[in-house]
Symmetry: C2
Subunit: 233 residues, 2 copies
């Protein structure tokens, strides 16, 4: 599912028309899930080269209610591993940054413009524990690639650095595990905050519409039928 | 590293003799790591069949200071995937339950006898959120295998059931990710408790001795040299 811009390119009537083709159980699940979605926390992954890692991150975002995933493609293109993603790419908005020469820079500026603090997940002399990270302001967590971690561009733009506290001889996790730990903890923290971290009503409607279209498969025939009905009225 | 029984099968002099062959940095790391080790929380994995999953769990235990990992082998034998384990099997005590017909039962009884509450990580009508789990008493988390989850034997012995709160369409993680989320959160919680969750001095000495032997490789030549020196005194 690509980025949606927050305007409704369809009428409420059309959505109502489509919704009748969903099972009541499916509608109920969508209603429950949308209420737990947030854009207060987002995530960007930079040049991940193993499809199972990127797919696992996307799936983790769905699990913890993170609606937007930013994918920076400099050298490596995002490919889905369907066995790992389990279709989760249809439930979150995947925003690709791949059209410029400096996509990391573009993504950082995009996130800052949207009001996010850039938190690079990498050890640093000034890093902060995951458990102490403030989420009063919107936060974008940036994960670097498997081999080299985050790039200098991300480092330059970072407002903070995050580490998962560890105490052993081995002190590293792969990116899918790191992302899961971070998002589980922050999703829990978010639900204890007293500000409104949920989506706006317009955002919810738009996403529910996208989910509905996805569930119904090709909606050409539905559009056709809907228009026919409108004309009869 | 196998289970050690808490008695010292060597003298303090011998350990001092061996320690001189470690670099100061290595000794310092061991000293730091041992102070963060605990047996207040432990983990058991039941019949895991993918070596990379079991190895990842062992590595995660090292990362979060969990000293004992129980491995129940009914149908599947534990095999190490060295690329995933990164040698972590030498830093934690791996206690295998594989000699009886009912190894899950044996492991549960063993853990209960040691004073652990059995917490099965599986959805259940009476489950509790990871974030609400009490760790006032010693806790053993049990993870079932990739396909079937925990067995009925574990279910029967469980004092509680644990779930990681999730809010999306996809609501499952593989065992290595689940274990990492659980242990990260509980390791953090433990460090905020005001009781003594660390190892006893005797336990620390014994483990340091095992780590030292591991670092030095075959210690036959060191034992021989040590005996010679003792005889000269």
């Amino acid at each position: 599912m690509k980025e949606n811009k927050g305007t409704l390119p369809y009428s409420d009537e059309f959505q109502e028309f489509l919704a009748q083709f969903l099972t009541p159980e499916r509608k109920e699940v969508m209603k429950t899930v949308i209420e737990e979605r947030t854009r207060h926390i987002t995530i960007a992954i930079e040049d991940i080269y193993q499809p199972h890692n990127a797919s696992a991150v996307v799936r983790t975002c769905d699990c913890f209610g993170i609606q937007d995933v930013h994918i920076i493609e400099n050298r490596n293109k995002y490919k889905v591993n369907p066995k790992v993603a389990l279709g989760s790419g249809q439930w979150v908005n995947i925003i690709k940054h791949n059209e410029l020469e400096h996509n990391s820079e573009a993504c950082m500026l995009h996130l800052k413009k949207k009001g996010y603090k850039i938190i690079a997940t990498t050890p640093h002399t000034d890093d902060i524990s995951l458990y102490d990270l403030s989420i009063e302001e919107p936060v974008a967590l940036i994960f670097g690639n498997e081999k080299n971690g985050i790039t200098d561009v991300v480092r330059k733009h970072a407002d903070g650095f995050l580490r998962i506290p560890m105490y052993g001889f081995t002190e590293s996790f792969n990116i899918s595990v790191s992302a899961a730990i971070c998002l589980s903890v922050l999703a829990e923290k978010l639900r204890k905050m007293d500000f409104d971290w949920k989506l706006k009503e317009e955002e919810k409607k738009l996403i529910i519409h996208e989910w509905t279209k996805f569930r119904l498969g090709s909606i050409d025939k539905f559009e056709h039928e809907f228009k026919r009905l409108q004309e009869l009225k």
